[in-house]
Amino acid sequence: MFHKAIKVIVVTEKFLQDRVCSLMESCGGKGYTLVSAGGKGLHHLHATDDKASVAEGLGNIKIEVIVRERSKAETIAATIMKDVFSEYPGIIYLEHVEIWREERF
């Protein structure tokens, strides 16, 4: 059966991926999903991988982590805000999801 859980989603620049993922894990996330991203932010359009970007690592990536407790989701978001997004651009939001195999989250 499905169990209620919370997904924290971070969209940021690719070169920050390792930093964001290790913060997610150190705050209790047991894994994460990486998806190449693109779209429009406050300043300009960020192209997807369909279009080559000359500089390495400045494309966007969407990193998703699912946790069971809201408190853990809050810690993950607050830590990333403080340690990464105080200096770099990016967005964080959460979604309520339902999961099978809750022991994996």
Partner: protein, 335 residues
Amino acid sequence: MNVLLEFLLRFVAQLQSPTLAFLIGGALLAATGSKLTIPGSIYQFIVFVLLMRIGIEGGIEIREANLAEMLVPAVFSVLIGLVIVVLGRIFFSLLPKVKMEDGIATAGLFGAVSASTLAAAIVLLEEESMMFEAWVPALYPFMDIPALILAIVLANLYLKRKHAGGTHPVRIFQIVKDSLRGAALSALVLGLLLGLFAQTESVLSSFYDPLFRGFLSILMLILGMEAYARAKELRSVAPWFALYAVVAPVVHGALGFALGYLAHILVGFSPGGVVLLSVIAASNSDISGPPTLRGGIPSANPSAYIGASTSLGTPVAIAVCIPLFHSLAQVVFNL
């Protein structure tokens, strides 16, 4: 006067060379709003093949080379990388309305090296049969890494003074590691090692070499498209960055030429080597430098330094500096 005339004639001829024509073609495509795009994965593959070809070719020839000859040009490369950053730091500190860390990051990127400009210069020298030592492409990291490190150190010193201690410690080893792990340098270094230690002649002549020029033309197309796209970002920062991006490659190339000429007198550095050293000095990092600076100087505005480098610096290095220093070498060395 003769030098000027020869340069102008050469420049017009260069406009018809595939390298420059594709660069301009890419910019035209982007300007017309064309839907043609080249995927990121193909771009990465092209950079890999180009740098692997340069590396393997260099590695094979290094087997017979006397590497002690490399010492003086390598020391000069480090020196050029450092001097460029210091000059840039001074230039931007003299100007009003420039955020200092943007200026230092820009100087760092212009001190670092562009793999695509290097590849374009190698094609020209091969077409013109101007010989250069096989190890010259290996000078790349000697200029690239010190320039990036110095820019990050200077920016952090500046920010520390400004905010009294609110900055991060500079992790030099991490910067060296990041630079060597970048796509362009990893392929170049691996290629050098493969050429040096393995029997790579057949794969070079049957695969990497035939692809070299064709792939370079696609890379130039991508650079042209990106140059046009980034020009909008450059317009959002102070016009000084555009001025710097046009003038700095020529000044840096001249510095490279002067020190290359000195190496020619001291240790017999070849005329082709002098041209390549000038072009490496004139070039500005477009692939691996930006993420290193983004990591090391978070408060610097990437629109300033990437805009300056990609939209103007690289086209100037390719379109102006390569023919300029090539024709200068022909005059100076009586070729």
